[in-house]
Amino acid sequence: AQTVTQSQPEMSVQEAETVTLSCTYDTSESDYYLFWYKQPPSRQMILVIRQEAYKQQNATENRFSVNFQKAAKSFSLKISDSQLGDAAMYFCAYSGHNNNDMRFGAGTRLTVKP
């Protein structure tokens, strides 16, 4: 089964600064999807960003962008101009192109310091 690894259990960033969260994955497939989810204390899982493996261009959503390195099987999330509301658990997830299921990493807890 595919595995997703988030090597940073906790990260912190100063408000207005930039932080990068790491994610690596293991797969033998060539076409797949990658996601970053945010889970604030309210527990609701919120989709942050989505990347399709066949697209070379890195996905961007406002202050959130990814660095997708397909050969290295790396999918990091960059948060620019960090805000207090960005404090949450962040989960990286993988889904095969024709697969129904999705695999998640262990998560990174992000703290934003005022």
């Binding site: 089964a1 997703v4 988030q6 259990p9 999807y33 996601f35 309210s42 527990r43 609701q44 899982m45 989709l47 989505r50 989960f91 997830a93 889904s95 192109h97 024709n98 697969n99 129904n100 299921d101 999705m102 695999r103 998640f104 990493g105 262990a106 998560g107």
Partner: protein, 111 residues
């Protein structure tokens, strides 16, 4: 917008009880999932279903079963609850290739 509703936010049950966690989605998605979330372990897939009456085991199915009699409803069953099943349970729904839509989670305590 897809809405996934879990029947309880908090639930307390006793060891040995049969426990039902209910999940309903309103967008006619084929696929539904049950995850368990524990600190340091992320979300682990218990079971998923890709159609009515169809189910597949995930990574940690032991001690659990599921039921999908209607497309919109996916139930997780703890046949005989044990204390090591105390956890946060998340239900999700999606179409292949699309993001998952999650419910708010059920925090289950087994005493």
């Amino acid at each position: 917008d897809v809405k996934v509703t879990q029947s309880s936010r908090y639930l307390v049950k006793r060891t040995g009880e049969k426990v039902f966690l209910e999940c309903v989605q309103d967008m006619d998605h084929e696929n539904m999932f049950w995850y368990r979330q524990d600190p340091g372990l992320g979300l682990r897939l218990i079971y998923f279903s890709y159609d009515v009456k169809m189910k597949e085991k995930g990574d940690i199915p032991e001690g659990y079963s599921v039921s999908r009699e209607k497309k919109e409803r996916f139930s997780l069953i703890l046949e005989s609850a044990s204390t090591n099943q105390t956890s946060m349970y998340l239900c999700a729904a999606r179409e292949v290739g699309q993001p998952q839509h999650f419910g708010d989670g059920t925090r289950l305590s087994i005493l």
